[in-house]
């Protein structure tokens, strides 16, 4: 039974991650391969604050959002200077550099040894959350908030501006809109949400190491986005459902663990190819990447 709640927690975390990827990739049409980098930055920054200051919930969310969001400016800047393929490459480069630093800067991040014993997040500063049920509640609340938030962004005039920028950025600029600021906001919010997902993960599992935040993880998140659907809210949610629940379904088939892990990746890869060919907006999405 506890296991079901564990899956639900991971589902909520991935809902946040895939929704955050949707804002930049799906709505602003900026394919980023560095979502896991922000996930990792949030996890490590959050861990630092949790271990040093035993922060309450609101504080830790605010701090992690802000700091991770600040890192997004590197990627925002890249999106201004570089176009198309080169931007994707730069986002990959950012992801790889973040991973390399997390892995090699042992005095600060403990590298491959990871950081154990991460304390839980404190609700209202006194009650430290621990255990599956507490984190299920927390992650559920955060996931719902994320859904409502992104829904609002999608339906709002800001969402309309992002879609307009995707259609023709120069024209939107000539209509008086600061497109650079609009895109920078998209990156900031996307990074902030991924970062919060990171600190929730860190506090829940109470151990993190760089292997959770690799380029492969970024690819995984993007795959979930493309399979589930880009441009709206239910697409990313479905994508998260797909990638989190599929391994569990495979478990019932009874394959040895190692093979099951590879098989699930084969299914993801195949799904990606099929979706891209037959339904490029994703199964439940409504936008196609330009």
């Amino acid at each position: 039974m506890e296991y079901v709640f564990h899956i639900a927690i991971m589902l909520n975390i991935y809902i946040m991650l895939v929704l955050s990827a949707n804002l930049t990739t799906g709505m602003a049409n900026l394919l980023t391969m560095c979502q896991a980098a922000f996930y990792g930055i949030g996890a490590y920054i959050g861990t630092f604050f949790l271990m040093q200051f035993h922060c309450p919930l609101v504080v830790i969310i605010a701090v992690v959002s802000l700091v991770t969001g600040l890192f997004s400016f590197v990627v925002s800047y890249a999106s201004v200077k570089l176009k198309g393929d080169y931007f994707v490459l730069a986002s990959m480069g950012f992801q790889l550099i973040v991973y390399t630093i997390l892995y090699n800067w042992i005095p600060v991040t403990r590298g491959p040894y990871g950081i154990p014993g991460i304390p839980g997040i404190r609700l209202f500063g006194i009650w430290e959350l621990s255990g599956v049920y507490a984190y299920f509640a927390l992650s559920l609340v955060l996931a719902v908030v994320a859904i409502l938030l992104f829904n609002n962004l999608h339906d709002s005039p800001y969402g309309r501006t992002l879609r307009a920028i995707k259609a023709d950025e120069l024209m939107v600029q000539s209509m008086g809109r600061n497109t650079l600021a609009a895109k920078a906001w998209a990156f900031f919010i996307s990074a902030a949400v991924a970062g919060v997902a990171g600190v929730v993960y860190a506090a829940y599992v109470s151990y993190i190491d760089p292997t959770s935040f690799t380029l492969n993880e970024s690819i995984f998140i993007i795959s979930a986005l493309f399979i589930g659907g880009i441009g709206n809210v239910k697409g990313p949610v479905f994508g998260a459902l797909f990638v989190v629940l599929l391994p569990e379904l495979l478990r019932f088939v009874g394959l040895p663990d190692a093979v099951a892990a590879n098989l699930r990746q084969v299914i993801y890869g195949l799904s990606l190819i099929l979706v891209v060919y037959f339904r490029p907006q994703g199964l439940f999405g409504k936008m196609v990447l330009k």
């Binding site: 084969v266 891209v276 060919y277």
Partner: protein, 289 residues
């Protein structure tokens, strides 16, 4: 000692050049970000290993067969995945996503069949050759021979034959190429075959030295992409310059700092060039639209 590092760097650099050419062949002509090349690289390695170690086929023959199979897989990626998408007028970004999917499928199928652990091709201790103070191992010797021959042959073919001219024309202007009456489909197929050849060559030459595991593809691919970019995208000869430079710089990083920061220099170079000199050392300055 220092010279040894430089030589090692140059030799690795030659292999990066091969990989960069393999990647650039696809990128320059089709503009597709051929991430599946990472999977093709892994396939070549495992084909070689299986033929040489499991089937007991003599090394050279195993390599040739493995490369042939790799070329086939490369062709499949074009005919089976990219061409249908082109027919659907999919954008390049969307095609890249499909490429990622293809890589995932290839790599994980291989892992399912062969397992995730590292394997080696050659377990015997091989001869080393001395050149003054420098030592060159047998695998390194093979790497040098293979790379130099392949690169030279490629540059000659590219620069002096009609086939090479067609590849360069296709890279320069796809629609003009077509309107001049050349068969674009055939040209693309040829390009992918050639790409598979270079990736296969580099893969066999490298894994003979260092062994193989299913997840090595991505790192190798990134090195190839960085080599292409710092050399100068859009041209092929520059891949060689980029590959050599990358190999030497990585080696120097190991010499000056430590081997675990080796990759950091690659990524730092990537970002540096992307931001400061996107045309690479010798490429065309592409007018950013």
């Amino acid at each position: 000692m220092f010279a040894q590092f430089i030589v090692n760097g140059l030799i690795t650099g030659l292999l990066y050049s091969l990989l960069a050419i393999g990647f650039a062949l696809v990128y320059n002509t089709t503009r597709i970000f051929h991430i599946a090349a990472a999977g093709i690289y892994v396939f070549a390695a495992y084909a070689f290993w299986w033929l040489a170690v499991k089937c007991g086929i003599p090394l050279l023959l195993a390599a040739i067969l493995a490369i042939a199979l790799t070329m086939g897989l490369s062709l499949f990626s074009e005919v089976g995945v990219y061409r249908p998408l082109r027919g659907k007028k999919s954008s390049l970004s969307v095609t890249m996503i499909a490429s990622i999917g293809l890589m995932t499928v290839i790599v994980n199928l291989i892992a399912m069949v062969f397992g995730n652990e590292t394997k080696v091709v050659e377990t015997a201790i091989l001869k080393t050759y001395s050149l003054g103070n420098l030592i060159i191992t047998t695998p390194q010797l093979y790497q040098i021979i293979v790379s130099v021959v392949a690169i030279t042959a490629f540059l000659i073919l590219l620069g002096r034959t009609r086939l090479g001219l067609r590849v360069r024309a296709l890279s320069a202007d796809e629609s003009l190429f077509e309107s001049l009456g050349y068969d674009k489909q055939r040209a693309f197929s040829l390009v992918f075959l050639a790409s598979g050849l270079f990736i296969g060559l580099a893969s066999c030459a490298l894994v003979y030295d260092v062994g193989l595991d299913p997840n090595m593809g991505m790192t190798v691919l990134i090195n190839a992409m960085v080599a292409m970019i710092i050399g100068g995208a859009g041209r092929f000869g520059t891949c060689v310059a980029g590959g050599l430079l990358l190999g030497v710089l990585q080696s120097l990083t190991v010499y000056c700092f430590a081997s675990n920061w080796q990759n950091a220099i690659t990524f730092a170079l990537l970002l540096g060039f992307l931001f400061l000199r996107p045309q690479g050392i010798a490429g065309y300055k592409q007018r950013v639209v």
